[in-house]
């Protein structure tokens, strides 16, 4: 079960558009995706779930994946966060 810690780098943190980008990318994978911040874990494929993390700039996210394409998923999602969600 791959796991990666990443730091939120964009100024607005994990706001609506960022959460949507994360959930949309997550949904392309078959595996289960969990993302947590400050002890709260949510479904990475859920926009509202990811937004509920209210993760600001500088917060650490833990991305955990489980399933067939879990390695690809964790790498691509970590890259998305590290690239400031493409913003």
């Amino acid at each position: 079960m791959p796991e990666r810690n990443v730091t939120v780098t964009n100024e607005l943190g994990v706001h609506a558009r960022a959460a949507a980008a994360f959930a949309q990318l997550s949904s392309r994978f078959e595996c289960e995706i969990f993302v947590s911040c400050r002890g709260m874990e949510v479904d990475g494929k859920s926009i509202m779930g990811v937004m509920m993390l209210t993760a600001p700039m500088g917060a650490e996210l833990t991305i955990r994946t489980e399933g067939e394409d879990d390695h690809d998923a964790v790498e691509q999602l970590a890259a998305l966060v590290e690239n400031s969600f493409g913003e």
Binding site: A16, R17, A20, A23, Q24, S27, K45, S46, I47, M48
Partner: protein, 141 residues
Amino acid sequence: MIGLVVVGHGDFPVALLKAAESVLAGVTQMRAIGLEPGRVPGTLSAEIGRAVDEVDSGEGVIIMTDMMGGTPTNAALAMLYRKGVEVGTGVNLPMLLKVPFIKGKTSKEAANFLVEYGRRNLSQPSEMLEAMKPEKSGKKD
């Protein structure tokens, strides 16, 4: 993908769809129709019918309206005779953002899911923040 038509009073549906588009990339198969005061309800039904045709890719269409009992909802309900069309009321932004993620559901199942989802995403943040507060330091009795 399942199609969606948002219908409601005034500019609300158009603005709501615009809000969804600003959050979510690639929102397609969604249309919004606002009822302006003084409009003849019959023309509204016709416009909803055209929008349903536009967003229907064969996987069904959900018409989400602002509130039960209003003219937009009544006009939408006239579409229920069409196969694969379902109506839900009380549309909100979380619902719209969820639509592109719905897979393998009939329009009836999807509308049911969406209404429940929209309901679940109403919240009173102060209560949630209170529950998230870390325990005060020091021993508790």
